[in-house]
Amino acid sequence: MELNCNCIEPHLPPDDLLMKYQYISDFFIALAYFSIPLELIYFVKKSAVFPYRWVLVQFGAFIVLCGATHLINLWTFTIHSRTVAMVMTTAKVLTAVVSCATALMLVHIIPDLLSVKTRELFLKNKAAELDREMGLIRTQEETGRHVRMLTHEIRSTLDRHTILKTTLVELGRTLGLEECALWMPTRTGLELQLSYTLRQQNPVGYTVPIHLPVINQVFSSSRAVKISPNCPLARLRPAGKYMPGEVVAVRVPLLHLTNFQINDWPELSTKRYALMVLMLPSDSARQWHVHELELVEVVADQVAVALSHAAILEESMRARDLLMEQNVALDLARREAETAIRARNDFLAVMNHEMRTPMHAIIALSSLLQETELTPEQRLMVETILKSSNLLATLINDVLDLSRLEDGSLQLDVATFNLYAVFREVLNLIKPIPSVKKLHVSLNLAPDLPEFAIGDDKRLMQTILNVVGNAVKFSKEGSISITAFVAKPESLRDPRAPEFFPVPSDNHFYLRVQVKDSGSGISPQDIPKLFTKFAQNQAPTRNSGGSGLGLAICKRFVNLMDGHIWIESEGLGKGCTAIFIVKLGIPERWNESKIPFMPKASTNHGQTAFPGLKVLVMDENGVSRMVTKGLLVHLGCDVTMVSSIEECLRVVSHEHKVVLMDVCVPGMDGYEIAVRIHEKFPKRHERPLIVALTGNTDKVTKENCMRVGMDGVILKPVSLDKMRSVLSDLLEHRVLFEAI
């Protein structure tokens, strides 16, 4: 033993067999211990997400140190120095430390590792569950897609056959059906008839009675119902050798237009249903799944809606066609009516003209004859001819007037006239006949009746003449009294004419005329017929030769004058009284002196008819300006000429009484002046009268002139006489819209 080398001896000799085995084991252990960390490092590197790196490092360190220990142990089998022993000891100490630390660490992490396994199991379960749900959703989504597609197909057409056919085809395709059929209720509603099938081309009308229990069962539920393949509804295919597939039936409500109220949604209490039968293929073991049934129900509803749309469309198309036909018929009728009216008007116009011309000749020549030297007998004869032809002319006028009255185109010629003179004239005209018949005619004009009135004197005279004439015509003996007075407001209301509301006012009064005769009278039930045109009383007492127009025309005239006419009679043989009330205007005081009951006095033909009248002439055309000036100067006016709008507005003043302006320049410039002049002279009495000279005779020009506030329109070229009469009318009336 060499103790002075400070070596440590191993316990057993190194050549011992046990020592050898220990040596080899230590070696392999060390090898393993060194290789495990390497493997671990390799694996850790491979898996990037391993969470326990620190543990592995610890473990690695532990193993490495163990390996180091065992490795160093190899040297201790032989004699080794103290250094080796020191190293050995250090290694062991470190190993001890690390392994204790690792042991402690493991205590912490083993529960985690265990729970990982639990979590993994849990996740696996969850994944399986989600898979199942996903499968369900996918099926549902697929169903939804099918429904959408089906609906799109069904709703893309409005033709009912196409809708139904498409439904069957698409359902067949989507669900892989063997057969799909639609049973529709017949007209009587007692049977269901096979209307459409998928496979068979032309279903011959199989029918089943509607009151089968299975059908009731299907109709009473809004869901798809499984039915037996043996029931008559499903016996559509020749019986096969194998088991027929499952059959499902669903109701399809046939909604009617009346089901749709505005405020309610359609209730499916409608009695009419169709039935859709779907058969799965016979030899497959397929069953109806819930989602397929849902699909079928949804489709059935969609079909119902699509059918109702188709029905509504058919209905509206039919209504439209009907309306169009009616329109055409109405149009035709209107055109015919218009043609008829035109034809009548033409006829009347022509006849009138033809009749008037000779009448005119007779009247004119007779009046001329009156002016010549005649013996008294001749004079009387000529006067009679004149009077008769006047009456005949009146009759011709009647016919024309009546048609114009009916068209509504008649307008009253309103002017101031002498009321008393009208009555006197009527009396004069009618006098011969009562004197022959020995009738006594008396006229009573109330003292408060104004002498002058404003109205249509000719038509008023015609009315009075007609009424008085009737009285004379239908009286064989006795007397006729004519009274005229101003009607008081209380007495104006006639209970027989509730729509007649006379409104007295300051510048109007109501003239009431009563013509009482003691003639044959009229029975009360005939009175309403009197005013109907062409209707004559057929009673033998009144065999007149009149045309039956007279009273009808009078009534229309009286209505035009805002009045009312009626006849009272107590019965046959008791005479009758004709009464009418018309509205007349009251002229202002100062007009009384100028009343032309004589024809309008022709204006003086003196050279200077309008001395010193200041007139402003505006015309862009030099030549026509000069001519107009010449005209006016000839008439004695003081003329100022301007050639443009601006100049006109600059020069016009309240001294100018009349402004004559040319407005036939293309464009509207001339009208602006009128507006500006109105603005410049807001007070009426300061403003000059504005008159337009134009070459256009159309209504539009006239309307435009009236619209901008002009006082008159004259058509160019203007003659001297026309200018003279225009100026005099203008100054007298302050308005002139006739000189076209």
């Binding site: 055309n621 026509s624 100067v633 070459g695 070229p717 001297l720």
Partner: protein, 147 residues
């Protein structure tokens, strides 16, 4: 006597113009306006008209000579000429203006040129007759003054 003969000649001349349709009744209105206070009215009107018409016809020729005819301006000039012709009673000239107006509305340059030619013809005819008329009138006035 020469004065009476001249007056008759004038009357016949004017009547011939009426008969040919060169003038219409408007011209007689203008003649009626000539009186003691306005002795040269007819001559003044005629002179004014001839100058005005000549100016307008020149303008019309100018405008129709352009490549792109301004029918709007054309229309307004024709309107003026028509107005002047109606005022003086130049009947045929007025009708020719109506034709030009129509051609201008139709936007037909050829039609306008043709119408303008006829206007020019009528105008020349009218103006020369007017010159004769004025000369006659002046002779009458001179004779009257000398008496």
């Amino acid at each position: 006597m020469a004065l009476a003969a001249l007056k008759t000649q004038l009357k016949n001349f004017v009547q011939s113009m009426f008969d040919e349709g060169v003038l219409d009744s408007q011209f007689s209105q203008i003649q009626a306006l000539q009186d003691a206070s306005n002795p040269n009215f007819v001559e003044e009107v005629i002179t004014l008209f001839c100058n005005d018409a000549e100016r307008i016809i020149t303008e019309l020729n100018k405008y129709l000579g352009y490549q792109n005819v301004d029918f709007g301006k054309l229309d307004s000039y024709v309107h003026q000429l028509k107005g002047s012709s109606s005022s003086i009673g130049a009947h045929r000239l007025k009708l020719a203006c109506v034709n030009l107006r129509q051609a201008s509305d139709d936007r037909s340059k050829d039609g306008c040129l043709r119408a303008l030619n006829s206007i020019t013809r009528e105008y020349c005819l009218l103006c020369s007759k007017f010159q004769t008329l004025i000369q006659l009138e002046r002779n009458i006035i001179a004779l009257e003054r000398n008496h």
